[in-house]
């Protein structure tokens, strides 16, 4: 077996660091947008708003039922053939759109589960002292649902960071794209891909640390 080329791996680190911001940025923007969209979808599902409920079900069914890569190709290569102005959408935007729609479908279901998971007695108590539906949601249900939803939502965020590695198929050179091109130039596949694997691993570990801190804070009210 050949010996690992450590110098090459070290040389790759500053190169990959240059592409890290784009990866994080696509995931962060995608996450914020997906959270907003997912909250809306979840509320529609919980309140069973007529009409919108059926549309939401269809939305979730499609975006959960088809692979992310297919959705990305559809937005980036497919739609511009139908509507020429959509060529304006560049790879970064298409990736963020794809991540947002895809993950919001999953997140909507886990947020809905969190809302439903808040004990029924909480709702009854709130209504008995005359709270409106809006007050009930804002003051009682959503804060408690947040605590329940955080672990699964963090899971989706982690998944989303790794899903940005599909963006190179849309011409976006992010962490994975930069690695693929470097590997093609050097033919040192193991060194290149283990380096990028460590990159993703460290990012996810940092997030997991943040998640533990967040959960401790959210659980403060429940400590006895």
């Amino acid at each position: 077996m050949q010996v690992l080329d450590f110098d090459y791996m070290l040389g790759l680190v500053p190169v990959l660091l240059r592409y890290l911001p784009l990866t994080l940025q696509m995931a962060a923007v995608g996450m914020v947008l997906a959270l907003v969209l997912a909250c809306g979808l979840a509320v529609i599902r919980v309140l069973r708003i007529p009409g919108l409920n059926a549309a939401t079900l269809l939305f979730i069914s499609f975006f959960r039922g088809t692979p992310l890569l297919v959705q990305l190709f559809l937005f980036y290569y497919g739609l511009p053939q139908l509507m020429a102005f959509l060529t304006q959408i560049n790879g970064v935007t298409a990736t963020i759109m794809g991540l947002t729609l895809h993950f919001s479908a999953y997140m909507a279901e886990s947020i809905r589960a969190a809302i439903v998971g808040v004990d029924r007695s909480q709702t009854e108590a709130a209504l008995s002292i005359g709270m409106t539906n809006g007050q009930l949601m804002r003051r009682i249900v959503l804060p408690q649902a947040t605590r329940i939803a955080v672990p699964t939502l963090m899971n989706y965020f982690i998944d989303m960071i790794k899903a940005t590695s599909l963006a190179f198929t849309l011409g976006v050179t992010e962490l994975m794209g930069a690695t693929q091109k470097e590997a093609a130039g050097s033919f040192l596949y193991f060194e290149a891909f283990i380096t990028v694997a460590i990159f993703y691993w460290i990012i996810v570990e940092l997030l997991a640390w943040f998640q533990r801190r967040l959960e401790i804070r959210l659980n403060e009210a429940y400590r006895r």
């Binding site: 190709f73 053939q81 020429a84 963020i96």
Partner: protein, 252 residues
């Protein structure tokens, strides 16, 4: 606090999106994979190779800027089709199907299809020995078509790859791969993979730059063609070829 972070992130996202979407009239947008040594590849974040040099020379001749867009090979024609790039400089071979759909410049590289095997494999000595073997080709490349045209195509197990066919042949996961002779020789010479050429090239190929078949794109094609012709005349095209291959691959 969280709201402010979210807004900053959003703003940053849209700013990059905006700056990337701007079209430039005085630039030619050239798509390439960045993963086809030594035509287009990256070392220490620097895009380089034969096709990079050729396109830079062409742009200079035309008096425009050149903007390289890198994407996976299978995405390149989609980008051309959807108008995101003007042409592809990635050793695109002129095939009948492509010529129906796109307009090409004059060929700027003349080459042959080559079978490559793992070093020490003496079973395969040319394309006629591929019967019953597993052969790797790049997805969307014309080599798959070339193999399918062989009379014994049914007996070849053709595997299409997104990338890394050299590596899988060296690992022995497939018996051989087919690529153009020039880059195959270059890979064997310069890279630490145990590979060997098997026999002679088996098909003539001509590579050129494809453009969309629209009035505007055809006009651009004509300008690129003129630039290529004058580079050929001045000997600059040959010089670029000599630099990368030590031989002139730009003439039949």
């Amino acid at each position: 606090m969280i709201k402010r972070i979210a807004l900053t992130v959003l703003a940053a996202g849209f700013m990059t999106a905006g700056s990337l979407a701007q079209a430039d009239e005085h630039a030619i947008k050239v798509g390439m994979s960045g993963g086809y040594f030594p035509f287009t590849f990256v070392e220490q974040d620097k895009l380089q190779g034969f096709d990079v040099d050729v396109m830079e020379a062409v742009a200079e001749e035309m008096g425009v800027e050149v903007e390289f867009v890198t994407a996976n090979f299978s995405g390149l024609f989609g980008m051309l089709e959807s108008g995101r790039i003007d042409t592809i400089a990635n050793q695109i071979t002129i095939t009948e199907e492509r010529a129906d759909k796109y307009v090409f410049t004059e060929p700027y590289v003349y080459d042959g299809a080559q079978v490559v095997v793992k070093e020490g494999n003496e079973e395969i000595e040319g394309v006629e020995d591929l019967k019953g073997k597993t052969v790797a080709v790049n997805l969307g490349s014309n080599y798959e078509e070339l193999l399918r045209e062989l009379p014994y195509a049914d007996e070849i197990d053709i595997r299409t790859y997104e990338s890394n066919i050299e590596q899988d042949t060296a690992l022995g996961r497939v018996d051989a791969f087919v690529m153009d002779r020039v880059s195959a020789s270059q890979v064997i010479k310069e890279k630490p993979l145990p590979l060997a050429l098997a026999g002679q090239p088996f098909s003539k190929i001509r590579n050129a730059l494809p453009f969309r078949d629209t009035e505007q794109s055809r006009a651009l094609r004509d300008r690129v063609d003129a630039a290529l012709a004058s580079l050929r005349e001045s000997g600059e095209l040959e010089a670029i070829s000599e630099k990368w291959f030590g031989t002139d691959i730009t003439r039949p």
